[in-house]
């Protein structure tokens, strides 16, 4: 494995300065030492943004997009853990996360297709896609 960015990175971040044991530099290095937690936080943020979209938007299509965003945040977790596990277990079962991601993408596509079909069928009848006008199922 030849990591070209590892080569360029010291140039970019002025490697000599970092390797000196100053506290400020060590904080900087810690910040630029991305591990699994950073991925988890990113995923959590995207998840919550997606939830907010589902809770607040009126347009059904945008709600669908928010759901896609939620699924995507899950995918980030899966892929990150796949890589994490690859390094922990020396390659054993390391690709299950990525494979599961592919399945999630497939299911998301299927869900979008059916959902949009419903939206079109609904629009044909009521000429709206606003979610608070779709309340025929209430008492």
């Amino acid at each position: 494995m030849i990591n070209i960015f590892n080569y360029i990175a010291p140039i970019l971040l002025q490697a000599e300065a970092i390797s000196a044991p100053g506290i400020k530099d060590r904080v900087l290095e810690g910040l630029f030492n991305v591990n699994i937690n950073n991925f988890l936080v990113l995923s959590a943020l995207l998840f919550v943004i997606g939830v907010a979209g589902v809770l607040t938007r009126r347009n059904v299509i945008v709600i669908f997009m928010s759901i896609e965003l939620i699924l995507n945040s899950v995918n980030i977790n899966l892929v990150a853990f796949s890589r994490y596990w690859f390094l922990q277990s020396e390659g054993k079962n390391a690709y299950m996360g990525e494979i599961f991601t592919i399945f999630v993408i497939v299911v998301a596509a299927a869900e979008a297709v059916v959902g949009l079909g419903i939206v079109i069928a609904f629009y044909r009848n009521k000429e709206t896609v606003a979610v608070d006008e779709i309340d025929l199922m209430k008492w």
């Binding site: 080569y7 991305v34 943004i49 607040t56 892929v79």
Partner: protein, 193 residues
């Protein structure tokens, strides 16, 4: 798993783009703008996948989401042709929903902070392993040092997870049939039947 140097920079770049555009997405007035912003988020995510060596998933992500799902979204938006939502972009539970989302975010991040205590933004101890040294590679022929990610994913996909794979294909088939049935007009049905 450590991303250092330029990889870390790229991680923050992609992460900020993803989060920022996601926020824009749920606040955009126009649905087409939302779709375009979602595409940006998804592409940034694909970049994240590349950073953790999941090339195949990154390719699939772009191919399926951008090439398929989001085109479909835009297609439907154009088809239903909704006018811009001038006043009522949000539902009447905007405040409650926003607050709840905020609490959810707090809760999730609190858990993360607690369970992964000490792993965030900590100082790297001087004894931590240094950045790997790059080895000279000018003599290696190109076909031998490219990533094997696709091959590995393919092998695992078609050996260990054959059954889920088949089930996924079945789900797709069902979705196709369902979508055709849903989106077809009565008139069309009458003509073709």
């Amino acid at each position: 798993m450590r991303l250092v140097g330029l990889e870390a920079v790229l991680f923050y770049l992609f992460a900020v783009v993803a989060v920022l555009f996601a926020v824009f997405m749920i606040t955009a007035r126009n649905a087409v703008h939302s779709a375009l912003l979602l595409i940006s988020t998804l592409v940034a995510t694909a970049g994240l996948y590349l950073l953790v060596n999941a090339e195949f998933v990154a390719g699939v992500q772009i191919l399926i989401y951008v090439g398929g799902v989001l085109v479909l979204f835009i297609f439907v938006i154009m088809l239903v042709n909704v006018k811009e939502e001038d006043t009522n972009m949000f539902t009447r539970q905007l405040i409650v929903g926003g607050a709840l989302s905020f609490f959810l975010a707090l809760g999730v991040i609190a858990i993360l902070l607690q369970t992964q205590k000490g792993n965030f933004f900590t100082l790297v101890s001087p004894s931590a392993p240094k950045i790997e040294q790059v080895q000279s590679s000018s003599n290696i022929s190109p076909s031998h040092n490219i990533s094997q990610n696709t091959i590995k994913v393919g092998q695992e996909l078609y050996t260990k997870t054959v059954l889920p794979f088949e089930i996924a294909s079945l789900i797709l088939l069902v979705a196709i049939v369902g979508a055709v049935h849903l989106a077809r007009e009565r008139k069309q049905e009458k003509i073709y039947d």
